[in-house]
């Protein structure tokens, strides 16, 4: 909950107390930052994904009929083959209809965004590339009805477009590498065609104002306004949290300015940094961000952050990944499955077998003898902790 701090309380340090209304009291840099913020807020609506489109995605049911198809096979096996044919055709039609006319669901989009996160991280793209890619993806999916099977291509295209706009030329891997690593099934020409389509549909307004833009500005303002540098979380930390939020479709409905502010406020709240919260509150007032809106998104962000920072591991879905190895290693792996040996097990006798009937000659044994002479069962330091040093003679 956003706590409304009373001014003049003992917790607040005097040097943080300020009022932003008097612009001339602030230094030039902060002044400029605030102006930027205001102008961006005015423009941000242009880059929001269409809300109706997002709603459709949220309500789209996941394709559920594909799996029961196999179950039907098992169930109807005893029946005549003719009947099975009919069912085959019927089920196939149903699958086709449901799969392709259901559109992209939120789950599908979220999974794709996570993939983009992995790819961006792997190729060393900046957070800006990732955030921009997600923005393009959401805007495109919100206005176009696409089949789920095209989502991988769209996702990678958005990432590529974003990378071209943000990253240095030398940092961008060639497209075929992008396709190979993402284990995609489409070709390079597919990718460039899709990029063109996306650019057209978004009216070439590709350089978007995203939540990241606001996050950076807010962070800069806070840094310039306070001398308590130690208390401010790093921008990398905030970026990571924003990325985690963007993985859920719901946050694409938020205004970027509000979302960024929610993330920051949430972090300060978690750190119990009352002074910082005060700055944020001033900022909010100055930029005319509605309380209820901020509160609403704060709540959702908090929930997202609990999931993100929980030490519980998510079991990775390993089946999606394809493990390609070279021919030699594949042969090696195959050969390495040790077959059960042909010789049957010889159980050790319950009586002491270490006594042989014919006395074994006393071979020159070391103190930890390998002889089967009686007494070898004696408990002792047969595992001295420095056994590593013992063996070498």
């Amino acid at each position: 909950m956003l706590q409304f701090i009373c001014f003049g309380s003992n917790h607040i340090k005097q040097n943080v107390f300020f009022r932003m209304q008097d612009l001339q009291d602030l230094d030039n840099e902060t002044c400029w930052l605030v102006k930027e913020l205001k102008s961006y807020i005015a423009q941000e609506a242009d880059f929001l994904p269409r809300e109706t489109g997002l709603n459709i995605m949220e309500s789209a049911a996941e394709v559920g009929i594909a799996i029961p198809v196999t179950q039907f096979y098992i169930l109807y096996l005893p029946f005549s083959s003719v009947l099975m044919c009919y069912f085959d055709v019927l089920l196939w039609c149903l699958t086709f209809i449901f799969q392709n006319h259901n559109g992209v669901s939120a789950k599908c989009r979220n999974a794709k965004v996570e993939d983009l996160w992995s790819l961006a991280s792997f190729f060393g793209f900046s957070t800006q590339t990732f955030v921009l890619a997600v923005n393009l993806l959401d805007r495109f999916l919100a206005i176009m009805k696409v089949q789920p099977k095209h989502v991988p291509c769209i996702g990678v295209s958005c990432l590529h477009i974003a990378a071209k706009m943000v990253e240095d030329e030398c940092n961008i891997s060639p497209t075929h590498e992008l396709i190979r690593i993402s284990q995609s099934k489409f070709t390079v020409s597919d990718l460039s065609r899709m990029e063109k389509i996306i650019s057209e549909k978004l009216n070439l307004e590709l350089k978007a104002i995203t939540a990241l833009t606001f996050l950076h500005l807010y962070h800069a303002v806070i840094v310039s306004l306070t001398s308590e540098r130690g208390e401010i979380p790093s921008i990398e930390r905030l970026e990571a949290q924003l990325k985690a939020c963007l993985c859920q479709l719901i946050f694409s409905k938020a205004k970027p300015s509000v979302l960024a502010l929610s993330v920051i406020t949430q972090e300060f709240d978690a750190l119990q940094s009352l002074a910082m919260l005060e700055i944020v509150q001033e900022l909010q007032r100055h930029l005319k961000i509605i309380d209820s809106e901020l509160l609403y998104w704060r709540g959702l962000v908090a929930k997202c952050m609990t999931e993100y920072s929980s030490s519980e591991c998510n079991k990775p879905d390993n089946k999606k990944l394809v493990w390609i190895v070279s021919r030699r290693t594949a042969q090696n792996l195959h050969a390495n499955h040790f077959s059960v040996p042909e010789l049957p097990t010889i159980p050790e006798g319950s009586w002491d077998e270490s006594e042989s009937e014919d006395s074994c000659e006393d071979m020159s044994c070391e103190e930890d003898s390998l002889c089967g002479s009686p007494g070898s069962d004696a408990e002792g330091a047969f595992f001295p902790s420095e056994f590593c040093n013992q063996g070498r003679k």
């Binding site: 996160w117 992995s118 991280s121 792997f122 060393g124 190979r180 690593i181 790093s234 990571a240 990325k243 993100y308 920072s309 030490s311 591991c313 998510n314 079991k315 990775p316 879905d317 390993n318 990944l321 394809v322 493990w323 390609i324 190895v325 070279s326 290693t329 090696n332 792996l333 390495n336 040790f338 040996p341 010789l343 097990t345 010889i346 159980p347 050790e348 006798g349 319950s350 077998e353 270490s354 006594e355 042989s356 009937e357 014919d358 074994c360 071979m363 930890d368 390998l370 002889c371 089967g372 070898s376 069962d377 004696a378 408990e379 002792g380 047969f382 595992f383 056994f387 590593c388 063996g391």
Partner: protein, 510 residues
């Protein structure tokens, strides 16, 4: 066959075996010296035709007949007698397999004599001193037509339902076992296969010999590891041991644990590991299944002996490690996870693509993944650096794709930790880059000054030496001061480069 197989391992060099095949083969040496004067064998009546009262006597006669040894080096002499012996041996094999009540007490010494005479011989020295078991064709035993049947007979004899160890132990004693073990060094794989089965049966039936057999095998292995590095029968002996280990009673005796740590683990260092690795790994895993507390010392032992220059061996070790991890208990895993994954992270970054692949493939193993999941906070920091580095630097595209899979898997396991490590890795890299840049600029400055101040340098040389002897090794301190002084030795042709300003700086510091 070996030629066909060798083409699979093409590396641009002519195979040794092809060169050798062009050399003329010497005839195989034989250690058997025929002291007996040769008498032709006269065929005896068939056992199945003989009346039951005479069978025992006939049986003995045939056994004695088979004690006559023949020279198979010579392929033309004594053909008729050789055939008679072969047929007789065949008949004896059948007789012992199908009939009951023939193993009377008197038969044992005759049987034992026949067997000993035929198979116990000093093995001829290998005609090929550079015999490479992986590449070369083994030298086969020339008298195999007879010896094979003798082995067959011995097996049937041991497996006969009427076989009595209490009688047989007078003849199958320690001396017998010793001689049997020596034969394991035979180059002929068929002979070793028989020996394996024979020794397995003897171990099973003669409880009194078990300790002796184990001790002798220990000795053979220790000799192999530390002295000769040569023994052809390691794989077969290990296979027998596998079935013995499988049958160990719990709790494990100290002797057995000793064997594991002092013999089996060091055996991994043998040069010819590829020949018996499957059996060796099986034995190790069997031990761990019997007693999981052995896991930590075993893994530490393997890590100690981890191959540093032989990639083929490294791939084998990784395979064995995966087999061990498949059966490991989570509590044991926690104890060795850090040294283990430090090694794995080195393997993953190995420029040899097979080693890197094999290490990365661990992440395709469900059980290993679940172990990593539980301990992700310890493991991810160890793996992260090398994974990230090779994703950018490795030459092999398959490896890069596999690294993506691994990173993605780890990222999904714990995003927070992953992000933290990414951030710190990036900042480390940036710091390194900055340092590199500074160093570059420093060198540039030096380059520029070299030409202009040549004269001044000669003058200042002695000054530089006096003032900076103490700073000889402390060039980091020098860097911070902005000096670029390099102290010289007498032999070192590089002249100390003092810039005019730096000399001043140094003087004031003093």
């Amino acid at each position: 066959v070996s030629q066909a197989a060798s083409w699979l391992k093409v590396d641009g060099f002519t195979r040794k075996s092809m060169r050798k095949a062009q050399k003329q083969k010497k005839s195989q040496g034989s250690s058997q010296f025929r002291t007996q004067t040769f008498t032709e064998l006269s065929p005896l009546p068939q056992l199945k035709d003989a009346p039951s009262t005479e069978q025992q006597e006939l049986f003995t006669q045939k056994l004695q007949q088979c004690c006559m040894l023949f020279d198979f080096m010579d392929s033309v002499t004594d053909l008729k007698s050789k055939e008679i012996k072969r047929a007789t041996l065949n008949e004896l094999v059948d007789y012992v397999s199908t009939n009951r009540g023939i193993l009377v007490e008197a038969a044992y010494p005759e049987i034992s004599n026949m067997i000993c005479t035929n198979i116990f011989r000093t093995l001829p020295p290998s005609e090929n001193p550079d015999f490479d078991p992986e590449e070369d064709e083994p030298t086969l035993e020339a008298s195999w037509p007879h010896i094979q049947l003798v082995y067959e007979f011995l097996l049937r004899f041991l497996e006969n339902p009427d076989f009595q160890p209490s009688i047989a132990k007078r003849y199958i004693d320690q001396k017998f076992v010793l001689q049997l073990l020596e034969l394991f060094d035979s180059e002929d794989p068929r002979e070793r296969d028989f020996l394996k089965t024979v020794l397995h049966r003897i171990y099973g039936k003669f409880l009194g010999l078990r300790a002796f057999i184990r001790k002798q095998i220990n000795n053979i292995f220790l000799r192999f590891i530390y002295e000769t590095d040569h023994f052809n029968g390691v794989a077969e002996l290990l296979e027998i041991l596998g079935s013995i280990i499988n049958g160990f009673a719990l709790p494990l005796k100290a002797e057995h644990k000793q064997f594991l740590m002092k013999v089996l683990i060091p055996m991994h260092t043998a040069k010819g590991l590829a020949l018996f690795h499957a059996q060796l790994a099986y034995c190790v895993v069997q031990f761990l299944e019997k007693d999981p507390t052995l896991t930590e010392p075993v893994i530490r032992g393997l890590l100690k002996f981890w191959p540093k220059t032989c990639s083929q061996k490294e791939v084998m070790y990784l395979g064995e490690m995966e087999e061990i991890l498949d059966v490991i208990e989570p509590t044991q895993f926690k104890k060795i996870q850090e040294p283990l994954f430090k090694q794995i992270s080195r393997c993953v970054a190995n420029p040899h693509f097979q080693v890197a692949e094999r290490a990365l493939y661990f992440w395709n193993n469900e059980y290993i993944l679940s172990l990593i999941e539980e301990n992700i906070d310890k493991i991810l920091p160890i793996m992260f650096g090398s994974l990230y580095r090779i994703s950018k630097e490795h030459w092999n595209p398959t490896i890069v794709a596999l690294v993506y899979n691994v990173l993605k898997t780890l990222m999904e396991m714990n995003s927070t930790l992953f992000d933290e490590l990414t951030a710190s890795y990036k900042s480390d890299r940036q710091r390194e880059k900055k340092k590199e840049q500074e160093r570059e600029e420093l060198w540039k400055k030096l380059d520029e000054l070299k030409l202009s101040d040549a004269a001044a340098l000669v003058q200042n040389n002695s000054h530089g030496l006096q003032n900076n002897n103490s700073n000889n090794n402390n060039h980091q301190e020098n860097q911070e001061k902005g000096t670029a002084v390099i102290a010289t030795d007498h032999e070192d042709p590089v002249v100390a480069m003092d810039t005019a300003e730096n000399v001043k700086g140094v003087k004031t510091a003093k």
